[in-house]
């Protein structure tokens, strides 16, 4: 589904991604871990199409298309979804408000007729249950005055509405208490099927107890320096990153 080859990216002349290789197949769950500042969010942003980042080398193929050629909205319409680590506040625009246009523009791209107000609302109601989110939150200005947990829950609600092929969840667990974490993870799991894939970025094993990864990767200084199965996450939780840094020290 997603094939990243030797991806290099800069911001403000600084190289952040320094040769990422990653293959994600339909039906898989991948976890990306790594110390602060190693480039996890940068990778997610580059995949979603944030324009401040300059890709200097490498390629990204998504469902047979050159992802890097596409505008951010077309990536979303093709099925890429990024749950932001720090979702932005948008005064005056409510989730309901923009999602209606978003859902319909995605449908239009796929050659589907727009949803009428009634079907849209019933779809909303159904997906709201999935993450136990309140209607009142969805009618408020996006993220304005939301708690950390509300922001993250709202991100996953949007994911449920847009039904992406590839979901990139950037630290969706931060700011969530244990109950919320369970609800949100269960939501993600319910949306999971053999045709889609999830990449979770996290610092903690706890999330991975709910969203169980097939593969765990360690991103360090802009490269994936180690990959393994879910046991790797346990090991990282226990031992931290120093041993990995040492292991790769000589290579970098």
């Amino acid at each position: 589904m997603l094939s990243i080859k030797n991806l290099h990216a800069n911001i403000e002349g600084k190289e952040i991604l320094r040769g990422i290789n990653l293959e994600v197949k339909a039906g898989e769950v991948h976890a990306i871990m790594g110390p602060n500042g190693s480039g996890k969010s940068t990778l997610a942003s580059v995949l979603a199409g944030r324009e401040e980042y300059e890709v200097t080398e490498g390629s990204v193929e998504f469902l047979g298309k050159d992802l890097l050629e596409l505008a951010p909205e077309d990536r979303a319409r093709e099925g890429v979804f990024l749950a932001f680590q720090y979702p932005v506040e948008i005064p005056g625009v409510s989730t309901t408000n923009f999602l209606k246009s978003a859902v319909n523009q995605v449908r239009e791209y796929k050659g589907l007729p727009p949803l009428d107000a009634v079907s849209f609302l019933s779809m909303m109601k159904e997906r709201m249950k999935l993450v136990e989110i309140d209607q009142s939150l969805l009618s408020r200005s996006l993220n304005e005055g939301f708690s950390g947990g509300e922001k993250k829950r709202n991100e996953i609600f949007q994911m449920a509405m847009l039904e992406p092929k590839l979901a990139l969840l950037d630290e969706t667990d931060s700011g969530l208490d244990i109950d919320a974490l369970r609800i949100v993870s269960q939501g993600v799991n319910k949306l999971k099927n053999k045709d889609n894939a999830v990449v979770v970025v996290t610092h903690y094993q706890r999330l991975l107890e709910y969203i169980v990864p097939d593969y765990v990767h360690v991103l360090y200084k802009g490269r994936i320096v180690k990959s393994g199965t879910k046991e790797l996450a346990l090991e990282l939780e226990e031992k931290g990153y120093d041993w990995i840094k040492e292991e790769v020290g000589e290579v970098l």
């Binding site: 199409g49 505008a71 932001f84 932005v88 948008i90 005056g92 625009v93 923009f98 246009s101 859902v103």
Partner: protein, 428 residues
């Protein structure tokens, strides 16, 4: 310029006017002595109206020469809005073109020449807008020959809005049009007023208007000034408001088109527990220029003023915002808030914003803030990452920015119309 002006004043002296003669003479004398603002005059330095007058217009008072027919106006008035539609052609009330269904016990609308003996007219006509305060008030007072008097009677809650359509018949002689209005809203009365400007044809126009509004005790007045008809319109208008005890006055100024527009909104809160709201939106393109000067004068304690002007500027457009807040020594426990926020969509657009607070009382709550910025890239990216096209994401963000001004419009038909115009404009 002064020479032409003096000549015109001489001509005006010899011709009849229904404005109070004492004030009219004062205005003429003032103009003869001071003239119109020169290029460096502080209050008009960004908006060179004098130059425009000098070059393009004859200063001649606009007399309704051309006959305007109902057919010519069709489609130009807000037909779908249930309202008292009051048409003025070149500054002169045209009852035959108007549709007023007023109960005279509640609402009276008449030309100045019919209002000469009415107590409210005698008490307030030309008493609040002072010639010496602004050269264009002086100009209007000197040259307007008639005007429109609206009286909302004590206790009357006028249900339908009163819409004034200022029509420029735009004859070739390029006259200046001098609309003059006096609106007295009685004790505990309520009314919604709209001033809208329409040019017939494409010709450049120059309108110099003065609207005096008196809000008696407990009056509730919503006032709307709409400027979106003619991209070659020049306009300098003063809305002069006097507020008496516990009255609430709300002004909403929306400017979408105009070559050079200058709006002076002056509110004098001459009593306790008054509230005034000043909302403004300018959404400009091309070479439009809009200058909003507002002044709120807190003279007595316990009053509240709230101001929020927003600008979205594209093309080569320019805007000026100048917000004066005076809090006099007596005006303890004043609350005064002011905000002017601007988004520039093009590198060639510009905004000049200046808050001007002068506070002599010590127990007051005042705040003000001005911002000029670009579209927020983070917000744009967020929406695009959800599948919205660049254009619709941009339109949605700009619409949200403008919305808190538009949402305050209480006349549904006009709010909807403006919403549509704005969405259309922002989607370009």
């Amino acid at each position: 310029m002064q020479e032409v002006l003096n000549q015109r004043i001489e001509t005006a002296k010899a011709s009849a006017s229904y404005l109070p003669s004492e004030e009219r003479t004062k205005a003429m004398t003032w103009l003869q002595a001071n003239g119109l603002p020169h290029a460096k005059a502080e209050e008009y330095k960004y908006t060179h109206l004098t130059k425009v007058l000098e070059k393009e217009f004859s200063l001649q008072a606009g007399v309704a020469k051309s006959v305007v027919t109902k057919e010519q106006l069709s489609g130009l008035l807000f037909e779908s809005v249930e309202a008292h539609h009051v048409v003025l052609v070149d500054g002169v009330f045209a009852p035959e073109l108007s549709r007023i269904a007023a109960d005279s016990k509640q609402l009276e609308i008449s030309a100045f020449h019919e209002a000469q003996q009415k107590p409210a007219y005698l008490q307030y006509a030309a008493k609040e807008a002072h010639a010496e305060a602004d050269p264009f008030i002086a100009l209007n007072t000197a040259f307007a020959s008639n005007g429109l008097f609206i009286e909302v009677k004590r206790g009357a809650a006028v249900e339908l809005p009163v819409i004034l359509y200022h029509i420029s018949s735009a004859s070739d002689a390029k006259p200046v049009i001098y609309p003059r209005n006096l609106i007295v809203v009685g004790e505990n009365a309520q009314v919604k007023l709209v001033e809208h400007y329409i040019t017939l044809g494409e010709a450049a126009t120059f309108t110099n208007s003065v609207t005096e509004i008196v809000c008696q005790q407990d009056a509730l007045v919503d006032y709307y000034k709409l400027q979106f008809n003619n991209p070659s319109a020049h306009q300098v208008g003063t809305t002069q408001v006097l507020q008496v005890k516990k009255s609430v006055f709300t002004a909403t100024t929306v400017s979408l088109d105009g070559k050079m527009l200058r709006n002076n909104l002056n509110i004098v809160m001459d009593d306790e527990h008054c509230e005034s709201n000043m909302w403004g939106l300018y959404l400009l393109n091309g070479k439009s220029h809009v200058d909003n000067h507002t002044m709120v004068d807190h003279r007595k304690p316990n009053a509240l003023s709230n101001e929020n002007y927003k600008g979205i500027m594209d093309g080569n457009s320019t805007a000026v915002f100048n917000g004066k807040i005076f809090v006099r020594q007596d005006a303890q426990k004043t609350n005064a808030f002011q905000s002017n926020r601007n988004i520039l969509l093009s590198n060639d657009a510009s905004v000049n914003t200046k808050p001007q607070l002068e506070i002599w009382a010590d127990d007051v709550k005042c705040s003000h803030g001005c911002t000029i910025g670009q579209m927020d890239e983070e917000q744009l990216f967020y929406l695009r990452a959800r599948g919205l096209s660049y254009e619709s994401a941009r339109a949605m963000l700009l619409h949200a920015f403008a919305a808190d001004v538009i949402q305050n419009i209480k006349i549904e038909g006009i709010r909807t119309l403006l919403e549509e115009l704005i969405i259309e404009r922002l989607s370009k």
